[in-house]
């Protein structure tokens, strides 16, 4: 079953609530990484709006009280190093308590440094060796077809990850089988560990690559929640696999991390955490002001 057709004017309030949620998720990411003392802020922050839209924008069908619900949609974080964004979303969704986030990367924790299937509820695949999530998702999507179940499988890939050959094996196979319940999202933040994608191993034309594998492709601003939601509405219920290329900024939301690749795999210090949280507060206040202004303008224009 496809989710309802695109609502052209998702209410401003709904978007505003999602923006709030995205800010909360950013705060949780920064907090858990600072506590852990290691991890990957850049690629966690770039994916916040994508993951927020999935879990809180009415895209994913899931039940935190019943993580093994056979008809649940599956979400695979193939770029496993970005797992703080997933743990934050799962805690927000109610899969496990928020306190557990501060156990990230500690001995005996369910929150491993990269996602591990069978540990924390809501984790659908073990990832961390890049390139593998789409194949796993393809197997899940085909299993749904065999069982006549209607769940969808969403796989979030990194841009650097798309340099892995296995991604294109899976893309080719999904296109061949016209797997219509498989949706890939590429978090195209333009950087990989060692530097700029364009310097190390260019991906462009990325959309053409997916199209050539017989996928439907859309390119969006991966931080514009309205666009992200519309992209998911577009992506579900097509007759072949869909890929959303989300243009994003690594480290999004924290000025000194944005586009600064040093924060690919280095956790913030306590002092940086304080600065980052203060910025998020300011950003939130600004966002609230602009939402109020938009609402006022809408009202004045009689919309």
């Amino acid at each position: 079953m496809a989710i309802p057709a695109a609502d052209p004017s998702r209410r401003g309030e709904e978007i505003a609530a999602l923006r709030d949620r995205a800010t909360v998720i950013r705060r949780l990411i920064l907090d858990m990484l600072t506590t852990a003392g290691s991890g990957h802020p850049g690629g966690s922050l770039s994916a916040v709006e994508i993951v927020t839209a999935l879990y809180f924008g009415g895209v994913l069908r899931y039940d935190p009280k019943w993580p093994d619900w056979p008809d649940r949609d599956r979400f695979i974080l193939s770029k496993g190093h970005g797992v703080p964004v997933l743990y934050a979303a799962l805690a927000e969704a109610g899969y496990f308590p928020h306190e557990e986030l501060r156990t990230l990367r500690r001995i005996d924790s369910r929150l491993q440094g990269h996602p591990v299937y069978g540990t924390a509820p809501g984790i659908e695949a073990s990832t961390g060796s890049l390139g593998q999530g789409l194949s796993i998702g393809l197997g899940m999507a085909l299993a749904a077809r065999l069982d006549k179940r209607r769940y969808r499988v969403f796989v979030l890939l990194g841009d650097g990850e798309c340099q892995e050959g296995q991604v294109w094996e899976a893309a080719m196979a999904a296109g061949h089988h016209r797997v219509d319940n498989l949706i890939a999202i590429v978090d195209y933040n333009k950087f990989q560990l060692d530097g700029a994608i364009s310097d190390i191993m260019e991906l462009d034309p990325l959309a053409a690559k997916w199209e050539s594998m017989r996928w439907d492709v859309i390119e969006i601003d991966g931080h514009d929640l309205g666009e992200v939601l519309r992209a998911f509405e577009w992506a579900v219920g097509r007759d072949r696999p869909a890929c959303i290329i989300a243009h994003t900024t690594k480290g999004k939301g924290v000025s000194f991390m944005e586009g600064e690749n040093a924060y690919h795999g280095v956790a913030p210090t306590e002092e940086e955490l304080v600065r980052a949280l203060a910025e998020l507060d300011t950003a939130r206040a600004r966002a609230e002001a602009s939402i109020e202004r938009e609402a006022r303008e809408d009202k004045e224009a009689g919309r």
Partner: protein, 319 residues
């Protein structure tokens, strides 16, 4: 090849038995899905594919993707059997076997055909000599090298009923029949004592079981009593049987169609060291790849015949 196994009848190749058994299981169990990477005709998984096209996925030449897909199927409750040549599914799919199967402990069955060097003329790129070592290195994997068509059928059935990842090694050529029919008491981790003996024990699997029986017969005529143990399951190892051999005979020869490092020999040696140190000799490939050639010529040149086992027994008894 028949000249290497005098006195033994030849049956089908173990890959033939794999394909037949898998097709038969498919009739019984709807949760089986089968994946192959463009070698379905050779691995015989095509038998399943012909009868159950909806549950059969030929992914083309994409071993890594095939293994990942199997992990996805398994996490949704399917029981995937995936096959290719052992060289390709284990070596090209190794990281995927680790991440999508072993680490998440998923219920995937892996069949590597054309194991060892007895596939012959295609040469070393196709000959898997390190597959068993690699499969054994994956935590939680059961690893089994059946010796004939009957044992292979039992192993395929056992793989389906076992919950967890399994690696089965299949062979290309027709091989000697060791069991008269499908052994009903087959179980992973349970060795079979095929010949009693009191002087030395030969522990073998796969193609080397037949060679061990021939060696047993030859040495019996010279007054040497050789116990022959079929250790089809390399992991988990039947340590009780190893302990008996170490205690009750003067030493152990391990024979396998594989590198002598990392496979059955290494695992038996580890158990012997820990449980009851005893002299050992190893028959297998010693840090080398093989080459193109007729299977029998390769087995002779690379030291995988009954004669090589006889020599190892003599070496051991001379120590």
């Amino acid at each position: 090849m028949k000249e290497l196994y005098p006195g033994l009848e030849f049956g089908k190749a173990t890959r033939d038995a794999y394909g037949e058994a898998l097709r038969d299981l498919g009739r019984q169990y709807e949760d089986i899905v089968v994946l192959d990477a463009d070698l379905a005709g050779s691995t015989r998984s095509a038998y399943f594919g012909e009868e159950f096209p909806d549950r059969f996925f030929n992914v083309g030449i994409q071993e890594a993707n095939m293994v990942g897909m199997a992990g996805g199927f398994a996490s949704c409750g399917k029981v995937p059997f995936i096959s290719s040549f052992a060289s390709f599914v284990i070596l090209k799919g190794f990281d995927q076997l680790r991440m999508a199967v072993a680490y998440p402990k998923l219920n995937v069955k892996v069949a590597g055909s054309h194991g060892g060097i007895s596939l012959g003329e295609d040469g070393a790129s196709q000959q898997a000599v390190e597959d068993v070592a690699l499969a054994c290195s994956l935590p939680g994997f059961t690893v089994c090298v059946p010796c004939d068509e009957h044992q292979m059928r039992a192993a395929v059935r056992a793989a389906y009923h076992h919950r967890g990842p399994v690696y089965l090694r299949l062979g290309r050529p027709k091989v000697p029949v060791i069991y008269r029919s499908e052994p009903e008491d087959f179980a992973f981790g349970k060795a079979v004592r095929l010949r009693e003996g009191t002087d030395v024990t030969v522990i073998a699997n796969g193609l080397m079981v037949g060679a061990a029986i021939v060696a047993h017969d030859r040495l019996r005529d010279k007054g040497i009593s050789v116990r022959v143990v079929d250790m089809a399951t390399v992991k988990p190892l039947d340590e009780d049987e190893v302990l008996s051999a170490a205690r009750e005979t003067r030493g152990i020869i391990v024979a396998e169609e594989h590198l002598i490092h990392g496979g059955l020999g290494s695992r038996v040696a580890q158990a012997v060291c820990r449980l009851h140190p005893a002299p050992m000799e190893f028959v297998g490939l010693d840090d080398t790849y093989a080459e193109s050639g007729a299977p029998a010529d390769l087995l002779r040149k690379y030291g995988l015949t009954a004669d090589n086992i006889v020599d190892a027994v003599r070496r051991l008894l001379a120590r």
